[in-house]
């Protein structure tokens, strides 16, 4: 790797994808929310939301807790400690990259 490339901060690609970034930004503002909440505030379709939440779960950035409410399945999603750290690091790295 050349010296010039080391100057730019590392950007986490898992967080950097727009849909996943929206999910993490939304979850960073609350303790947890269900999938309807995420769908409303990210504007993602249900299918895309499910896929992206799964990817974030595989990366260890979100926790998904399933339960039944009135006999209907409900998923509550929250950022894990690693997710909060990753998101905070991402914000710092983007700030360094963009100069603010």
């Amino acid at each position: 790797m050349s010296k010039a490339e080391n100057i730019l901060p590392d950007i986490d690609k898992t967080v950097h994808e727009l849909a996943r970034l929206k999910i993490m930004a939304t979850l960073d503002s609350v303790a947890e929310g269900d999938m309807t909440f995420l769908m409303n505030f990210t504007g993602l379709s249900w299918g895309n939301l499910s896929v992206q939440v799964s990817k974030l779960k595989d990366a260890g950035f979100v926790a998904v807790e399933k339960s039944f409410v009135d006999n209907k399945p409900q998923s509550r999603v929250s950022l894990t400690k690693e997710g909060k750290t990753a998101y905070a690091s991402y914000k710092t790295a983007m700030g360094d990259l963009l100069g603010f």
Partner: protein, 200 residues
């Protein structure tokens, strides 16, 4: 003067109040005060207030949470909500105390040299101002000014203050109902999804 940009957390929190339920409740309370003054039913305001709070809580669960999604706010926000509730409860008890004092002062007959509804109106104006400031819901400043303006007009023109409560209450219920309708259009009931299937 630049308005402070709201954080994402504040925007999410304030969305929870877009359903218009608190507006409808406030308007109904003002109407109840007006009706109480006309028919002389004591404690009508207390009964309506209690039933109104039960209705707001129930509708939040069956309409707002279902459409907007279930949110657990952060610990800091929950602490702020708890503080707000304590202040509003303290304010409510103070208002009741003022009402009792006004009722029995002036040689015990309840007759006053000023319109009897004036202290109640001032309490409602201050209460709405508190909500505008503390939640914060800026539209409640408008409601507060509306009631104050209508009361001033009634006093200047020599009309009973009951008109101010009825008109203000009606306008606020109308606006709250409009917000409620818009909220339901903006956030339709999500279609039932098989979450188990989505994970495959």
């Amino acid at each position: 003067m630049l308005q402070k940009e709201k954080t994402l957390e504040e925007k999410i929190y304030l969305t929870w109040y877009e359903d218009g339920l608190i507006d409808i409740f406030t308007g109904v309370m003002l109407l109840a005060i007006g009706v109480q003054m006309i028919v002389g039913l004591s404690y009508l305001m207390a009964i309506v207030g209690f039933l109104g709070l039960v209705w707001v809580k129930q509708t939040k669960q069956t309409v707002t949470d279902v459409r907007l999604g279930k949110i657990t706010f952060s610990a800091e926000r929950l602490k702020a909500i708890s503080k707000l509730k304590r202040i509003l409860v303290a304010f409510m008890f103070s208002a009741i105390a003022v009402g009792i004092i006004v009722r029995f002062m002036h040689d015990g007959t309840g007759a006053t040299p000023y319109p009897r509804a004036l202290p109640i109106g001032i309490i409602m104006i201050v209460g709405m101002g508190l909500m505008a400031r503390m939640i914060p819901l800026p539209r409640f400043s408008v409601y507060s000014l509306l009631l104050a303006g209508l009361m001033a007009v009634d006093v200047l023109l020599g009309y009973p203050l009951v008109y101010a409560f009825l008109v203000a209450g009606g306008i606020i219920v109308f606006m709250g109902t409009g917000d409620y309708s818009r909220f339901k259009d903006t956030y339709p009931i999500p279609q039932e999804r098989d979450e188990e299937q989505d994970d495959e």
